[in-house]
Assembly symmetry: C2
Amino acid sequence: MEQLLRHQIEKIVQLTDDEFHLVLSYFSFRTYKKHQYVVQAGDMAPNDHFVVKGLLKSFYIDDDGKTHILQFAMEDWWISDPQAFHNRTPATLHVDCIEDTDVYYISIDSREQLCAELQKMEYFFLKKTAAGYIALQRRILSLLSQSADERYHQFAQLYPTLLQRLPKALIASYLGVSRETLSRLAAG
Amino acid sequence: MEQLLRHQIEKIVQLTDDEFHLVLSYFSFRTYKKHQYVVQAGDMAPNDHFVVKGLLKSFYIDDDGKTHILQFAMEDWWISDPQAFHNRTPATLHVDCIEDTDVYYISIDSREQLCAELQKMEYFFLKKTAAGYIALQRRILSLLSQSADERYHQFAQLYPTLLQRLPKALIASYLGVSRETLSRLAAG
DNA sequence: CGCGCGATTGAGTAATTTCAAATCTAGTGG
DNA sequence: CCACTAGATTTGAAATTACTCAATCGCGCG
């Protein structure tokens, strides 16, 4: 279970056993049940979560009460309210569990201490954040240039696992499409 | 002119004069004319650009030949093809100048050397990248939850300067709206 | 004066949403 | 093992939103 986190980090920087134990000492572990909230808008939410098992979503509820999904996170992915995490401000997003979930989590303060102590971890987080930035740019491009149909099929191809594990209504919300439209797309 | 870069960095980390000169030594300076390309899709594009003067855009040309603007950058902003920059792969985006432009630029290799030599710069780039990530999340949210009209008026309120300096057609492309629709929105 | 580019306007069309109702499905208690 | 309910999904039809295509307008510059 720890190995999942270690393997994730070692995709980018190599760690000795001692270094990994140091890293791990800055993280905490926690279990959540399906439907449980990890972050609620308004909370201080200074933690970033690495998913060991389960499935979560982060979402925003707009002025009309509609929810818009920003991100899913399954095993080996990270999830947080990035703005609340980095700026130490109250959360504007919610994060909750779609399945029973296990995570390692780290506060922004711990993360900065860890990076001060072990420089290569700062490099790791920089690379990870840059990769996230690139992924968001791709998503923006998809929203700008593709039809609902194209977005859905690209999602299905890119994340076949999520297609299985998620209710269609959540995929619709992620793609920015009504559930009725998505249903019609999925049929064709 | 150097001061603009120094000021930008010192929003996040403080530098001595010596440190700043070290930083500067890793950057190069260059001037571009209006309409000139800074990056072309297919090129190796290992540079990130800090704008001292001028205005640029990064954009993607899709399979139908339509262009979609990912980002504008004016004074005090950064621009690149992030994927090409971080992964050292050929560019998929174009970057060109909307006005005559002056930039400081740095290659990914130089940046990594600089960070190795001056640790706090890695912290700076991490914070900068995280801030960019948060901005992209906001844009995704706006694409998911707002109508063309709301997106336009939010853009106008957020970037009054860009509204002045940019042809409307480019704003339309950034917002994911046809120029005709944007024209009707801007009137009402 | 007239060209050329950016912006606007109009009319018809396509994509997607909304509202409403019907259908399906998995899990629960008897 | 079956009936039942809540939630998820599908279907239909009307209403909206935004797009496309085409024509026109406005204006700065040679």
